[in-house]
Symmetry: none
Subunit: 288 residues, 2 copies
Amino acid sequence: MAKRSEADALMQRIAEEYEALPRQLQCVARYLEEHRSSIMVQRVGEIAEGCGVHASAVVRFAQRFGYSGFSEMQAVFRDAWAAQASPSRSYQQRIRSVIKGRTDGVSAVEIASRFIDASRAGLDELAAEIDEARFQKAVDMLAGAENIYVMGVRRSFAIATYIAYALQHTQKRVHLVNGLGGMFREQLRSIGKGDALIAISFPPFGKETLYAMRVAQQHKAGVLAITESDLGPLARHSDVLLKVKEGSAFAFRGLTSTMCLCQALFVALAYKLELTVEETIPRGEYDD
Amino acid sequence: MAKRSEADALMQRIAEEYEALPRQLQCVARYLEEHRSSIMVQRVGEIAEGCGVHASAVVRFAQRFGYSGFSEMQAVFRDAWAAQASPSRSYQQRIRSVIKGRTDGVSAVEIASRFIDASRAGLDELAAEIDEARFQKAVDMLAGAENIYVMGVRRSFAIATYIAYALQHTQKRVHLVNGLGGMFREQLRSIGKGDALIAISFPPFGKETLYAMRVAQQHKAGVLAITESDLGPLARHSDVLLKVKEGSAFAFRGLTSTMCLCQALFVALAYKLELTVEETIPRGEYDD
DNA sequence: CACGGGATGGAACGTTTTTTCCATTTATTT
DNA sequence: AAATAAATGGAAAAAACGTTCCATCCCGTG
């Protein structure tokens, strides 16, 4: 586990040689230790000023530790930061490689393992990057809605289905806009003020979902979009937008993070509505 | 509430104008959104390369949003980072978020975080305990089936929906047994030898699903069960049984592990069938 | 099909930043 | 106290970088 980044190694060397260093270089050393996390952003001049030293002193410092100059040393810190700031930033690429990778002779389980692994990374990212304010706003919107419409087509339909199912355990009236019989429009007809639409869509965005969002806005209903990014067509037509970055390769898109987010959304909503979870799933004749 | 950093404001402006932007600038916009946290460290050239665009396009982008050039825009991101990174990051933020959500005990995001954590644990378990032989057998069974029936009710219906959707991208005939019009039996009527049924069910087990499995077995179709344990009623009526233990938080059953397993299953199947993933989702008029 | 406007990429330009060089100062040793 | 070695700061050289300009290309329009 203890990955010794080059930056760590460098800092240690600095500590060891510190006492043998000339006065100014000691200043630089102290400065580096204290501002270790911001060195990557700073210019030589800033650092020099920061420790009351001439710029060339900083360069000499770097050279004393075996680098060609300040820039090269700075790169070490940049890399270290990049490594720890995005431990799972490879998620997108990992899932891509799972799907794309045609390395022959791989067993089914191996593929599955890699896929699961990538999905785990996806959840890590979800946990790390969830937007508190927006999530809260989403929960509040749903809590305040009288009717909740849920819409997602094709890839996103399974998610919509789940949300609709879960919401049935609240007191809300829930409408899954499923387009059965081609009746998207008709199913949306009666959405109105005080209602909410949950729209799930990822590129390439389904036009039916976009249509639903426009209708919802025209009818003054609140719109919660679950999608990939703030850019893209959903942003304009939504009141709250929750981001889920699913790794995707070509047209195959992960859905575990989305599923997880939606469940989290429901749990938070249930909590807010003060449903105990037992209540949310009443046992009856038709249990699954 | 939270101070709107200039970076936030900028990102919002970008989101608003996004659609009106030329192609390359849209690339830049997307890149900025995805790499928001590392822009401050990067050089124009790196960013340009990162979005497959000429450096000058990045500069034009910055100018379009009112900055004199890239440097000035970059400073915005640097400042935003410095502002929120200097007071020991996660610690102070956590305190703030706890206080903010104190209206009724725990904030929505906190609940969500815990739920996501539980889901992560679930995926860990899934990865650790996946049964190689069974998984392989499951893939083989599906690969060899002519017709694939998919069934899950209530909680499991969303999963069934997804599987059915995914399988539509193979050459198989796929039937989602959805019970529309109460026609479970009728939808299963023509299952037979050489076909496969994928049954997803968790306790309390839906009787419709159990019924479907019995029918499938009587008709000599292969049955793949996705459930919680080897015990329970599905074991008796299935040829292959894949286990998923869902971690649960708040006494609420997760579905992310199940979703992940099913996607992994599909990817492995697609691999075996030698579908390239491009083929799996031909682009047409009805894209999502 | 010709035209115009905008988008794009290459290269030159100008600026900033880093690095090197050297004169000067400071410390150390004899 | 003189001599020598090391450290320091200023300034110039060099490099990197960002920016601007312009020719070309592409697309939509008339």
